[in-house]
C-alpha cells in the first residue's frame, strides 16, 4: 500500500492528489503530481499542449485510471469510490459535449435524468439551468443551430444541474470570441459565489487565468513546475512580469513543443465546431 493511501486527503481540500502518475508505455503523461485545491476556489491548471492537463482532469473525473499515486475529489478516492465522486462533480470537456441533434431542453433533461433528478426537482432545475444559461428563448431549438458561446453556456448548465461540489472545465473558452468568453467567466464566478462550487479549469489563456483563478498550477512535461496565487507567481519572475512571462519562464523550451498530432487535432476540432 502506498503512503498516500494511509495518509488520506487533507480535510479542507476539494481536490487532492499525492504522487499521481499516468504512464502510456514509455511516455510519462503525468509524473508524481501533488495538488491541493481548497474548497470554494477557482483553480487553474496551466501548461503547454501535452503537459498532462487533460490527462489529470480525466483521472480526477474518473474517466481514466492512474498508473500510481492517489487522488481524492470531494473527499472520496477516485479509484475506490468513483460513483460517489461522480455524484459530486460536473465536467465540461474540451470537446463538444452537448448533443447537436437534440434541443437545449432535451440535452438538459437527459443530463438531469442521468444525475438521478426526478419529478418536480428535475423540472425546477432544468428551468433554472435555462435561465442561468440565458437560453430560455432558444430552449426548443436544435443545439446544432447555436453559436459557440451558447453551446458552452448550455454545457456548463448541463454540468451543474445537480449542484456539484466540484466543477471541472477543460479549456472552457477555447475558440470563443471575446464577448462569449467574458460571459462564460461571469457564469463561472456566479456559480462559485452562489453555490460555493470549487472550480478547476485548464487553460492556455493567460488573461483567463489572471481574471478568473485564485490559484494556479503550471504543469511542464507531466510534472508540477510551480504553484501559487497569480500575483505571487508574477512577483517570482520579476517586478513587472505578466502571467505570459510566468508561463514562458516555467515551461521554457516546451513552448516550441506545441503538443503532438492528437493534441493539435483535438484543439483545432473544438475551435472549428464552436467557431
Amino acid at each position: 500500500m502506498l503512503t498516500a493511501d494511509l495518509a488520506g486527503p487533507p480535510k479542507d481540500a476539494a481536490i487532492a492528489t499525492i504522487a499521481l502518475s499516468k504512464r502510456y508505455g514509455h511516455f510519462q503523461a503525468v509524473d508524481s503530481l501533488d495538488l491541493n485545491v481548497a474548497r470554494g476556489r477557482i483553480f487553474g491548471l496551466l501548461g503547454p499542449n501535452g503537459a498532462g492537463k487533460s490527462t489529470t482532469i480525466k483521472i480526477l473525473t474518473t474517466l481514466l485510471d492512474a498508473s500510481s499515486g492517489s487522488a481524492w475529489v470531494a473527499g472520496f478516492d477516485v479509484a475506490e469510490a468513483p460513483v460517489e465522486v461522480r455524484r459530486r462533480i460536473g465536467y465540461v470537456p474540451q470537446l463538444l459535449s452537448a448533443d447537436g441533434a437534440l434541443t437545449a431542453l432535451e440535452n438538459l433533461k437527459l443530463s438531469a435524468r442521468l444525475q438521478g433528478l426526478r419529478g418536480a426537482v428535475r423540472a425546477a432545475r432544468v428551468s433554472e439551468a435555462l435561465a442561468f444559461s440565458g437560453l430560455e428563448a432558444a430552449a426548443g431549438k436544435l443545439v446544432r443551430t447555436y453559436s459557440g458561446g451558447m453551446i458552452r453556456r448550455l454545457e456548463i448548465a448541463q454540468a451543474t444541474l445537480h449542484y456539484p461540489e466540484v466543477l471541472f472545465l477543460d479549456e472552457p473558452t477555447l475558440g470563443l470570441d471575446p464577448v462569449a468568453r467574458r460571459t462564460v467567466w461571469e457564469r463561472l464566478l456566479q456559480l462559485r459565489q452562489t453555490k460555493g462550487m470549487t472550480i478547476l479549469i485548464t487553460t492556455h489563456d493567460m488573461e483567463e487565468a489572471d481574471v478568473l483563478c485564485d490559484e494556479l498550477a503550471l504543469l511542464h512535461q507531466g510534472r508540477l513546475a510551480v504553484t501559487g496565487k497569480p500575483d505571487e507567481l508574477k512577483a517570482q519572475v520579476g517586478a513587472h512580469a505578466t502571467l505570459d512571462d510566468v508561463f514562458a519562464h516555467f515551461s521554457g523550451a516546451a513552448l516550441d513543443h506545441g503538443g503532438n498530432y492528437h493534441d493539435v487535432r483535438e484543439s483545432r476540432g473544438t475551435i472549428h465546431r464552436l467557431g
Binding site: 480525466k58 473525473t61 474518473t62 474517466l63 481514466l64 460513483v83 461522480r86 455524484r87 462533480i89 460536473g90 465536467y91 470537456p93 474540451q94 470537446l95 463538444l96 459535449s97 452537448a98 448533443d99 447537436g100 441533434a101 437534440l102 432535451e106 433533461k109 437527459l110 443530463s111 435524468r113 442521468l114 444525475q115 438521478g116 426526478r118 436544435l142 454545457e155 448541463q158 454540468a159 476540432g269 465546431r273
Partner: protein, 256 residues
Amino acid sequence: MFAWLYESAAVADAEVRKLMRDPTELFSRAVQPVLWLAVFGQVFSQVRGIPTGKLDYLDFMAPGILAQSILFSAIFYGIAIIWERDLGIIHKLLVTPASRGALVLGKAMAAGLRGLVQAVVVYLVAVALQVDIRWEPLPMLTMAAGVFLGSCIFSTFSLIIACIVKTRERFMGIGQLLTMPLFFASNALYPLELMPGWLRVIAAFNPLTYLVDVLRSAMIVGGESAYSMPTSFGIMLLVFAGLLGLAARLYPGLAR
C-alpha cells in the same frame, strides 16, 4: 433496479428523438429489402431451385430479409457511438453516476425501437409483393419481440466492435467484413437442412439463425420454425445478456 431502468429509458428517449428527426436513414435502409424481395426473391420463386416445402420461395425468404435488414442496420450502430466519442458526448455521459450497463441498455433499446420501424417498412414491401403475411395478434407480437431483441443483440455487438476499434475507418472495414458471413451462415435464404454439416454448426452459433427461425413461423402463413420459441428466445436473451455485460465493461474505455 428502478434507477437502472430510469437511466436506460432516458438514453433511449434521447436516441429515439434523434431518429425521429432524421428518418432518411430508415428510407435508405428500405432500399435493400425491396431489391432482395422484388428482384432476387421473385426470380428465385420462378427457378424453384431451393426446396422450401409447401411455401413459395418469396414467402420463405421474406422473414430472412426482415432479419437481414435488422442485422445490416444494427451492425453499423457503432459508427454513431464513435461519432459521439469524437464529439465528447460519451465523456459527458460517463461522468454521471448512471450505471454503465444502463447507458448501454438505453442505446440497445433505441436500436430495438428502430428495428420495429424497419419491420413496418419490410411488411409494406412484403404486402406489395403479395407475401402471405400472418396478421393475428399473437404472431405479430412474437415478431415484434423477435425484431426488438434481434436489434438489441446486433447493435450491442456493434457497440462492442466500436469500443475495440475506436475509429470510423476501421469500424467500416470490420462492419462490412462481418455482415455477409453472418447473413450467409444463417437460414435467411435457405433452410438449415440444405446446409453442409460444417455450415450448419456455424449457423447454430449465429444469433441471426434464431431470429430468422422465430420470424419464419410468426410472419408467414404456413411458415415453420426449426426450434421451439422458448429455445430461440432463450438463446437470444442469453446472447444479449452476455453482450450487454461485455459492452458495459468496454464502453468506459471509449473516453480514455
